[in-house]
């Protein structure tokens, strides 16, 4: 039981991290029609910038400075490079951001090397946020962070030693499953970000201008607003969001040169599955993919066992083939792309995309 609850929470937090990224991507795409291939590169750069800045001023200021820096870099890129290729259609824009992703990867490796950097979260973001303690009767007790570590120690730490020594008699002991606070922090930041974004786009004058510039650029320009600057601002906000996700994601998971590639293609899947240009769609798709992947990596059973449990007996040749002997956790990296293909076959416009 506690496995399902914790996996759900982990999946939600990973999904919300994906949403922070895909929100920026969708924002840029729906406002400007530009698919920013280098979006995940800004995520990576944000993580590295956060790491570097936190060395000097600590984590919390870095959480603020690094996204702002990413926003500035994004705006500069839009102003001095991307703007020059708008006239050529969407393919040159894609190619330019594709080239940028190459450059960012190499530059990151020049500055910070090819291995991982030790970007650890501050003390406030270490340790569990909530611990699920289940006794032998499968009765679950939620121990929150503010209830103090003493209670936790008295329940778990002692038993942890016992579980190791008499691991077979696990029924006698209490099982403690922690949910780390930095994962909770991801959820919190993502939710706050969505609310803030929604307020800006719906209730402020700036949001009004942005939305108007999307629909009637010439009219907005005639009213005296600088539409190119608005687009630059939108691009900057999008990359700043990626930078924010980078600082949090980099400190929670791992900060390495491969992080852009691992998350990059997944957020494209999120955007397509959710319906291109739909913010709510990408929200749902992020959560879906986050939860699917988190559950999949923690399930060890093979397809063969799944079929056996369902009462289907496979022939001998099939049960020896490598496909059916792979565990679910091994095929987990493939699942988002499989979902993409299935969605494209059965619902080509995505979950919430316009027809």
């Amino acid at each position: 039981m506690e496995f399902y609850v914790i996996s759900l929470l982990n999946g939600l937090s990973y999904g919300l991290l994906l949403f922070m990224l895909s929100a920026g991507l969708t924002l840029i795409f729906s406002m400007m029609g530009v698919l920013n291939f280098a979006h995940a590169s800004f995520y990576m750069l944000g993580a590295y910038a956060g790491f570097a800045i936190s060395q000097y001023v600590g984590f919390w200021p870095a959480l603020l400075i690094a996204p702002v820096l990413m926003g500035l870099l994004g705006a500069l890129f839009e102003r001095y490079a991307l703007r020059k290729v708008y006239s050529g259609g969407h393919v040159p824009e894609l190619l330019l951001t594709f080239g940028l992703s190459y450059l960012v990867l190499e530059i990151v490796q020049i500055i910070w090397g090819r291995s991982t950097v030790a970007f650890t979260p501050p003390l406030e973001l270490q340790g569990p946020f909530v611990t699920l303690v289940s006794d032998q009767a499968h009765h679950i007790q939620w121990i929150w962070r503010w209830e103090g570590t003493d209670l936790l120690n008295s329940l778990c730490k002692l038993n942890a030693a016992e579980t190791v020594s008499v691991s077979n008699s696990a029924t006698d002991t209490v099982q403690c499953t922690p949910f780390p606070i930095n994962r909770f922090f991801i959820m919190l930041t993502a939710v706050l970000m969505v609310i803030l974004l929604w307020i800006i786009l719906t209730y402020t004058r700036l949001g009004l201008i942005i939305k108007a510039a999307l629909s009637y650029p010439h009219m907005v320009e005639a009213l005296g607003h600088d539409v190119p600057s608005v687009l630059m601002l939108v691009f900057g906000i999008g990359t700043a969001l990626a930078g924010l996700a980078g600082v949090i994601g980099g400190s929670t998971f791992i900060t390495e040169p491969a992080m852009a590639e691992t998350v990059g293609s997944v957020i494209f899947v999120v955007v397509v599955v959710g319906g291109i240009g739909s913010l709510i769609g990408s929200f749902l798709a992020s959560l879906l993919i986050g939860i699917i992947q988190t559950y999949a990596v923690s399930i060890d059973t093979t397809l063969l066992n799944v079929f056996a449990n369902l009462g289907i007996n496979l022939s001998a040749s099939l049960s020896h083939s490598s496909i059916f002997n792979l565990s679910i956790s091994q095929i987990a990296p493939m699942l988002p792309y499989l979902l993409l293909v299935l969605i494209l076959i059965f619902r080509p416009s995505g979950l919430l995309g316009a027809k």
């Binding site: 795409f29 029609g33 698919l35 490079a81 020059k84 290729v85 050529g88 259609g89 969407h90 393919v91 040159p92 894609l94 190619l95 330019l96 594709f98 080239g99 940028l100 190459y102 450059l103 990867l105 190499e106 530059i107 490796q109 020049i110 500055i111 090397g113 090819r114 590639e261 293609s265 494209f268 899947v269 955007v271 397509v272 291109i276 083939s321 490598s322 496909i323 792979l326 091994q330 095929i331 990296p333 493939m334 792309y337 499989l338 993409l340 293909v341 494209l344 076959i345 080509p348």
Partner: protein, 452 residues
């Protein structure tokens, strides 16, 4: 009624030249290494041209072209190994076709989901399907051979008129034959009504729909055709290397096709051929020269998208067209004609200066990049390195100062020359336009006079 067209001598000459180069190349590149290089170039030419069928002709940017070249290789090597176990005659010569048919089937299937939309959506979906295949390649070791990949032996079965593919030269001629056939077929594809429709789908899809054609079907057919040629290239590379591993379907390979096809030039038919040659040379020679080659590649690509959207082939074609017009005008012998000619030579002088000013700029930029790489990524204990034949210590601040000031000064010079080149070029094209208009209007007057 058949239409009589004048024989395009120039076009015929280019094809003859192409055949001659393919046939005679082994005479000039005799060493094993250079023979291996030209064999690879022959293969990659097919890959890049099949890629450009999508990007250049159809405006479809695919992020997963390596799936089709790579899977062609897998189909071919499986067939080779399966046949090798039997006593039947093994037609190794026809294996690339088999790879092509396999990739054609795969492109037909995946094309169904990816070609319904064009532009950005198409690009995203091809990225997704390519990741799907790439992640499958690491999981299903039965088909993909796992980490080590699959190896085969191309010298199987009975020899056919002495052709055993035991020597690299025989493999080269196999590749050259396929290369010529594929280049010719792809060229003719672009000239068919379907090829023309494809261009129309790229430029104005709404209008094509209005004329009653299904744009998605045209994209789908092209995607399938492109997959076939990619598969042929994959099959050839399976025979050439006798090894196929999961890297061949990976995103890095797909990225290389995009970078180099674009650098070669996507709007001109022979652009990808230049790009393919550059790709092989870069991966085999340039990458050995410096650790920073990916950064240089990224920079060159980035600058090319910004400033040279036509790629290398675009530059060549633009300047040949200009030259043709200039000589046509100067042949008239008028005063304006001579003026145009003089301006034209001035433009070439500017080009020369531009190239010259580029040398110190590139030198100082690469000095800085090389020093950065040396400081960050070297495994040596001492940082000393050799740059342009000189022993350099990258911890020395004077070298940095030299690199920075040299870079700034040469950039300023380059920028000035570039500006004056672009004014010179626009003046020349203005002048040519004026002159052509004048000659056209005077020609019109004479015909009018005859009519009267």
């Amino acid at each position: 009624m058949t239409q009589i067209r004048p024989i395009n001598l120039e076009g015929k000459l280019i094809w003859l030249l192409f055949v001659a180069v393919l046939l005679l190349a082994p005479q000039f590149f005799t060493s094993n290494f250079s023979l291996a290089i030209i064999s690879q170039i022959g293969i990659v030419i097919i890959s890049c041209l099949s890629f450009n069928l999508l990007l250049g002709e159809g405006g479809l940017l695919s992020f997963g072209h390596a799936v089709y070249t790579g899977m062609g290789g897998y189909f071919a090597i499986h067939a080779l190994n399966a046949w090798g176990k039997t006593d039947y005659f093994v037609p190794v010569t026809l294996l690339p076709l088999l790879g092509g048919i396999g990739s054609l089937a795969l492109a037909f299937l995946l094309g169904f989901v990816s070609t319904r939309k064009s532009g950005t959506t198409f690009a995203m979906i091809t990225l997704g399907t390519s990741e799907l295949i790439a992640s499958m390649a690491l999981m299903f070791s039965d088909f993909f051979g796992g980490e080590a990949g699959l190896s085969g032996n191309r010298v199987t079965g009975h020899s056919f008129f002495g052709i055993t593919y035991g020597s690299q030269l025989q493999v080269y001629y196999l590749i050259a034959t396929y290369c010529f056939a594929c280049v010719a077929l792809i060229y003719f594809f672009t000239k068919t009504p379907l090829g023309k429709l494809l261009n129309a789908v790229r430029d104005n899809p709404v209008r094509v729909e209005f004329l009653g054609y299904n744009t998605a079907h045209i994209r789908w057919i092209t995607f399938t055709v492109s997959g076939f040629f990619a598969g042929v290239a994959g099959g050839l590379s399976a025979i050439n290397f006798e090894l196929v591993n999961s890297e061949v379907v990976g995103p890095v390979r797909s990225g290389a096709y995009i970078l180099f096809t674009y650098l070669g030039g996507i709007n001109v038919f022979f652009g990808p051929i230049i790009g393919a040659s550059l790709l092989v040379l870069t991966y085999n020679l340039f990458s050995k020269l410096t650790k920073a080659w990916l950064l240089y590649l990224g920079l060159i690509f980035f600058m090319s998208v910004l400033h040279l959207p036509g790629g290398i082939a675009g530059v060549i074609v633009d300047n040949t067209n200009l030259m043709r017009k200039v000589f046509q005008l100067s042949r008239l012998g008028s005063l304006e004609g001579r003026l145009v000619l003089r301006r034209f030579y001035g433009l070439w002088l500017h080009y020369l200066l531009l190239l010259l000013s580029l040398i110190p700029l590139v030198m100082s930029l690469s000095l800085i990049i090389e020093m950065l790489y040396q400081l960050q990524l070297t495994d040596d204990i001492s940082f000393d390195m050799v740059f342009a034949g000189l022993q350099i210590n990258p911890t020395d601040p004077y070298v940095w100062l030299l690199g920075a000031t040299g870079g700034l000064i040469s950039y300023a010079v380059f920028h000035l020359i570039k500006r004056s080149t672009s004014t010179c070029s626009s003046e020349l094209s203005e002048l040519i336009k004026d002159n052509l208009r004048q000659t056209a209007s005077s020609a019109e007057q004479t015909t009018l006079g005859v009519n009267l």
